[in-house]
């Protein structure tokens, strides 16, 4: 690096020439990459035959953006980074006291979350708050809860699970089927769904006990897909791709109901105007409570012998075994606990949607949840919550960007770009911060004082 800074000081003109050259190459490469896919579009005409639509202007934009972007990166960003790094190395690292917000982050976040629906109602009215509470609040919190659940398996025990969505599906279908066949209430079925998912966690965990790392990931992926395919094909029970619809709503512990016809309807009871917003607000607090439960259990478990065993397992399985930790039960409890929270989240999902179909439990969901866990810094609950807000909230916001239509024309639908941007964001964040948003970990066991360890000192585990 110092070699490079010297070079930079010696020749500024050389740098511009290099940047121009690099920009030219970048333009050339992007031309090759996008020529077929952006420059030409295969489209169906009225006869349903494929025809080509030419879009050379768009291709030119892509190439120019790539070239100009590369020029700026080489000419300005890289020297800037090099200089900053040099000055950072030179300056002595000074102790900085954490700010007030950082110290009390959990409390502030908790209070804000509790006030969130009230704020939304106050700002946008009862009907207007629907979007904010449902699309943003509930949606993000579901992923926070799922990611915290998966965090037990991946972040704490170091078992790479790519099929977590299977447990989510088990939870959702348990609630959907048991409530529509037996008419049981949500509050009874929530623990049952969790238990069933935990059983599946053990069933699927048992055969993979010997596997490590990538292989474990692939087998769990296979299990996730098998469960989804069974849900699609076992039509007598699951109604296949049509899914189960008309799932009963949850009630406030049976005291108030949200069914319009029920005598103890929430809105009627309090003489409020009819609106679906109350149910959404109730659901918001429900998922908030469930997520808080997940976080609480995770934090408590980390201090218990089993939590310590998980983390020890993540760091070194062989050392673990030689110290007399039963790796079989340790792994299985991790799978079961993680799966249980997946099951809870699943039955919440069924209650919220009122409809479940195998479409909701594709591999992509597992990938998204795992991405949130990894981007959040694996093991850090705060980091995972931040990652969920950024990734899910960020892509949800894209739905709202209707003003872009006035720029790019009426055909422009920002939703289409949601997953494209999500995928790219996964790559960019990972390259930029391989250890996730919160790259340090609070140690569970420590001598004299609690010091945060850099994430790079902890292993990701070998499963």
């Amino acid at each position: 690096m110092s070699n490079m800074t010297n070079k930079l000081e010696n020749a500024g003109g050389d740098l511009t020439a290099r940047a121009l050259r690099e920009a030219f190459y970048a333009g050339l490469i992007s031309l090759g990459l996008f020529f077929l896919f952006v420059g030409l579009k295969s489209d169906q005409n009225i006869l349903n035959e494929l025809i080509l639509v030419q879009r050379w202007g768009l291709l030119a934009v892509f190439v120019i953006v790539a070239a100009v972007g590369r020029f700026f990166v080489v000419a300005y960003l890289q020297p800037l980074n090099a200089r900053r790094k040099a000055s950072k190395d030179a300056a002595a690292t000074t102790e900085t006291r954490e700010g007030y917000i950082k110290r009390n982050f959990t409390v502030i976040a908790g209070v804000l979350l509790i006030l969130y629906p009230i704020l939304a109602v106050a700002l946008f009215g009862v009907q207007g708050s629907l979007k904010w509470v449902d699309n943003f609040g509930i949606q993000i919190l579901i992923y926070v809860m799922l990611a915290w659940g998966l965090n037990i398996v991946v972040g704490l025990a170091g078992l790479l699970d790519l099929g977590y969505v299977a447990f989510y599906a088990v939870g959702a279908y348990s609630y959907a089927l048991l409530s529509s066949h037996f008419g049981l209430s949500f509050w009874l079925l929530l623990p049952i769904a969790g238990l069933l998912a935990a059983c599946w966690g053990v069933v699927l965990g048992f055969p993979v006990l010997r596997l490590r790392g990538d292989y474990l990931a692939i087998v769990t992926l296979a299990f996730g897909e098998i469960i989804r395919l069974v849900l699609i094909n076992w039509t007598e029970v699951t109604k296949g791709t049509f899914g189960v619809s008309g799932i009963a709503k949850a009630s406030v512990f049976g005291i108030w109901s949200f069914d319009i016809s029920a005598p103890n309807n929430f809105a009627k009871y309090f003489d409020l105007p009819m609106s679906s917003a109350y149910y959404k607000i109730f659901l918001f607090y429900l998922i908030l409570a469930l997520a808080a439960l997940t976080a609480y259990v995770t934090i408590r478990l980390r201090r218990m012998p089993i939590g310590r065993a998980w983390e020890a397992l993540r760091e070194d399985e062989i050392a673990c075994r030689s110290l007399g930790i039963n790796t079989v039960t340790t792994k299985l409890t991790a799978f079961a606990t993680g799966a249980m929270f997946g099951g809870f989240a699943g039955s919440f999902f069924a209650v919220r949607q009122g409809f479940v179909s195998p479409e909701s439990f594709v591999f992509l969901e597992s990938a998204v949840i795992l991405a949130i866990v990894v981007l959040g810094g694996m093991g850090s609950l705060t980091g995972i919550a931040i990652a969920a807000v950024v990734m899910i909230g960020g892509t949800e916001i894209l739905r709202e960007l209707t003003f872009l239509k006035s720029i790019f024309g009426p055909d422009f639908t920002p939703e289409l770009y949601r997953m494209l941007i999500f995928g790219l964001a996964m790559v960019v964040v990972m390259v930029w911060k391989p250890r996730g948003f919160v790259g340090s970990r609070e140690p569970t066991a420590f001598l004299n004082e609690r010091k945060a360890v850099s994430g790079s000192f902890t292993k990701e585990g070998h499963g």
Binding site: L40, N48, L52
Partner: protein, 300 residues
């Protein structure tokens, strides 16, 4: 019996396609120990490149000979897919080399999502059917073998021979094998490791693009989600044959193709993917080193 042999032929065709994709997985896994999740989408990308080249050819030069059209489609698809995979490796995987092992897996999954959605955005979400390129069917002892199947099996055989030659007989292949065995030592002995890894990605992508072209020709349709299921099946093939082993990947591909077509023929077509996934799980659980793979030695 005839029915059985017929299914055998169908399975071999399918297996050739899986085998070609599987090679990309197995080589990348062998050389940098990473599951290149986006490889299935590179295959899909190759299929789309072939589709667009086909449309260009038919609209510009009507009545172009089929052999020439196929050849041009294949070569352009290979070049495009190779360029994509080269760029992806440079941008998304290389900065994370030496980072913790989950990191490249996550970027690969992200890349896979991004690639399939890129195609969805730029080419539209609908199925892309093309008129059949070759339609002749031969009757051999009561078994119908289509020219398509012959082309696929022949192309696979030719490419694999070339490939085998490159890996086993050329300095480039030697560099690849050395890098696979010990990256640090290879670098010390003067092998440009970065370049070797780049070339591995390029070769894998080129084969996947050929598989994509063959897939388009065989089924006559391609859609942006086509990367995932064939990708996972090809990965299964690579694992079944023993990951890191080239003949293993081909053998695994053929076996998966055979199992899939026989399963759909004799059991249930709905559960054919369940069969593949179950095989994947069973192989990994009971014989993780696969059929031809070396058992992994655990160092303490």
């Amino acid at each position: 019996m005839q029915y059985f042999v017929q299914q055998l032929v169908n399975g071999l065709t399918l297996g050739s396609i899986y085998g070609m994709i599987a090679i990309g997985y197995t080589m990348v896994y062998g050389i940098i120990g990473m599951i290149n999740f986006a490889h299935g989408d590179i295959f899909m990308l190759g299929g789309f490149a072939a589709l667009i080249v086909f449309l260009v050819l038919t609209s510009l030069f009507a009545g172009v000979p089929v052999v020439l059209a196929l050849l041009v489609m294949m070569i352009v698809a290979m070049l495009t897919a190779a360029l994509w995979n080269w760029t992806i490796e440079k941008v998304a995987y290389r900065p994370l080399r030496g980072s913790f092992r989950l990191a490249p897996l996550i970027t690969a999954i992200g890349m896979s999502i991004a690639l399939s959605n890129f195609i969805q955005v730029t080419q539209g979400p609908r199925n892309k059917p093309i008129p059949p390129l070759v339609s002749s069917v031969y009757d051999v002892f009561g078994i119908s073998i289509s020219l398509k199947q012959i082309i696929i099996i022949a192309v696979t055989a030719i490419l694999l021979t070339i490939f085998w030659y490159i890996v086993n007989k050329t300095p480039l292949g030697r560099a690849q094998r050395a890098t696979e065995q010990d990256r640090k030592m290879a670098a010390l002995l003067g092998i440009d490791v970065d370049r070797t890894i780049s070339v591995t990605f390029i070769m894998g992508a080129a084969l996947a693009a050929v598989a994509g072209t063959m897939y388009l020709m065989y089924y006559g349709v391609v859609v942006f989600t086509d990367g995932f299921i064939p990708g996972v099946k090809a990965f299964t093939a690579a694992v079944l044959g023993g990951i890191g082993s080239l003949p293993g990947a081909v053998l695994g591909g053929l076996l998966i193709g055979l199992i899939e077509s026989l399963w759909s023929a004799y059991f249930s077509i709905d559960y054919k993917d369940v069969a593949t996934f179950s095989i994947l799980a069973i192989v990994l659980i009971f014989k993780p080193s696969g059929i031809l793979g070396r058992p992994e030695v655990e160092k303490v």
